[in-house]
């Protein structure tokens, strides 16, 4: 069982190594002549003003929160979908009730305007 997962672990390590080696080789082979202008953050030719880690729209948080709810829902649906044939009609309706509650919440946030971007 676990022997099946060992190649995956190795593959992830090889994937990480490939990126590391590529950047490492680039660092060694490429020239390195820094100067103050070159190393300043890009801002269309202006001197950068203020810190770039500024305030941002709260909607991004909202999307992240909504994502957690829906992604959790998907995590519940995955095992349910696998065994749907075995749990039959009862299992189907049980999940439909659960999905129905989620849809009510979805309609509420839609009507509240949480999904609007203007």
């Amino acid at each position: 069982m676990l022997t099946n997962y060992f190649p995956i672990l190795l593959f992830i390590l090889v994937g990480l190594a490939l990126g590391t080696v590529a950047i490492g080789v680039g660092k060694v082979l490429a020239p390195n002549k820094p100067d103050a202008q070159k190393l300043s953050p890009y801002e269309c030719g202006f001197e950068p003003f203020e810190d770039s880690r500024m305030k941002f729209d709260v909607r991004y948080y909202l999307v992240a929160i909504l994502f957690i709810i829906f992604d959790l829902e998907i995590a519940f649906l995955f095992p349910w979908a696998i065994v749907l044939d075995e749990i039959g009609v009862f299992g189907f309706w049980a999940m439909m009730v659960f999905l129905g509650i989620l849809v009510i919440g979805f309609i509420y946030e839609w009507k509240k305007g949480a999904l609007e971007w203007e």
């Binding site: 190649p7 950047i23 082979l29 890009y42 992240a64 065994v83």
Partner: protein
């Protein structure tokens, strides 16, 4: 057979090293052709878009431009890697690596044919879904570590967009699982055998479309490329990257596109199976069918880029939340109802 040769030659090594090195060789046998495909996919993109705009595309390096990707790679290798003064240096360098590793590692469970699969695990679809979700970290960390306003904006946009389309993609996968009854990609393909009318793109047509659109949005490709949006935020999250650090981001994006194309083929277009089980089609090797289908789906990424204008950000979010998610929810109910209450339940078996 090669397996026995290798173990006979390296018999003097301890068994653990022998097994591990053999797995690494198999990983290389997947990775090297994959990197070659990625390199020539960038070339194909420039050629295809060139011809669609009545140009010829790159044609100077090598015969008809065929050495262009190699010249590009060499050029990027020799370019200075600039690390901006205000950036967080460690995170800045780790971000492209975190972006590339999941895009490659997802191929570990990819069944190229019935027998050609490195790790045939039961939860392979779950593994792929987990790894494709990891890709967003590279983008967010890059945008944060650069300490540049454009990079920050690009990262915020990209994160919200990927997160929104991840949900539609997950629901589309639930539909596939309801019909296939397995998380193993190889079994999902075998469940579609018997001819192209058995492939899931027919009974699950809305989910097939939703899945592919979400895939395009997940990889930040045109027409959903607001994370890069060169006409408004120059290059978005990778505006501060140069040389090899940029090349790694670039490789990750193209490897991800091929990954989405391959997954679409496995889940909706019958993987390595021939379209009809009759004479001229079953002579072709399964790997040929897998390759040709993946190339066909990957072509759509290029076609979209040449055809569609970029969406506005609010339009992207509206499409994701208000169109794709309701469509998938409805279709999940339709599959269940069809399965249990109509005489056509066999379509969804």
């Amino acid at each position: 057979m090669m397996h026995e040769f290798y173990f006979a030659w390296t018999g003097w090594l301890p068994e653990a090293i022998q097994t591990t090195s053999w797995i690494v060789i198999k990983i290389m046998a997947i990775l090297l052709p994959l990197m070659l495909c990625v390199a020539y996919f960038t070339f194909a993109e420039r050629k295809v878009i060139g011809y669609m705009q009545t140009r010829v595309g790159p044609n100077r390096v090598g015969p008809k431009g065929w050495l262009q990707p190699i010249a590009d790679a060499l050029k990027l290798l020799m370019k200075e890697i600039i690390i901006p003064t205000k950036s967080n240096k460690f995170l800045f360098l780790i971000a492209p690596i975190l972006s590339l590793a999941p895009a490659l590692a997802a191929w570990a469970v990819m069944p190229f044919t019935d027998f050609l699969v490195l790790a045939d695990i039961d939860a392979s679809l779950l593994y792929v879904l987990a790894l494709t979700s990891m890709g967003v970290y590279g983008v967010i960390i890059a945008g944060w570590a650069s300490n540049s306003k454009y990079a920050f904006l690009g990262a915020m946009r990209s994160a919200a967009q990927i997160v929104a389309y991840e949900i539609a993609m997950g629901f589309a996968l639930v539909g596939v699982l309801m019909v296939a009854g397995s998380l193993n990609l190889r079994e999902i393909v075998l469940h579609q055998s018997g001819g192209f009318w058995q492939w899931y793109f027919l009974p699950l047509f809305p989910l097939f479309i939703v899945y592919f659109i979400s895939g395009v949005a997940e990889t930040n490709r045109a027409p959903f490329d607001v994370a890069e949006g060169e006409s408004e935020i120059v290059a978005g999250f990778h505006v501060e990257y140069s040389g090899m650090a940029f090349a790694v981001f670039f490789l990750a994006e193209y490897a991800n596109m091929l990954l989405i194309a391959a997954l679409t083929v496995l889940m909706f277009l019958g993987g390595w199976l021939p379209p009809v089980d009759v004479a001229p089609f079953i002579w072709m090797p399964p790997l040929f069918w897998f390759g040709i289908k993946t190339a066909f789906v990957a072509f759509f990424f290029l076609w979209f880029r040449a055809t569609f204008p970029r969406y506005r950000y609010d339009q992207i979010m509206r499409l994701g939340w208000k169109v794709l998610i309701p469509v998938t929810l409805v279709w999940i109910a339709v599959i269940g109802l069809g399965k249990f209450y109509t005489p056509f339940g066999y379509i969804f078996q």
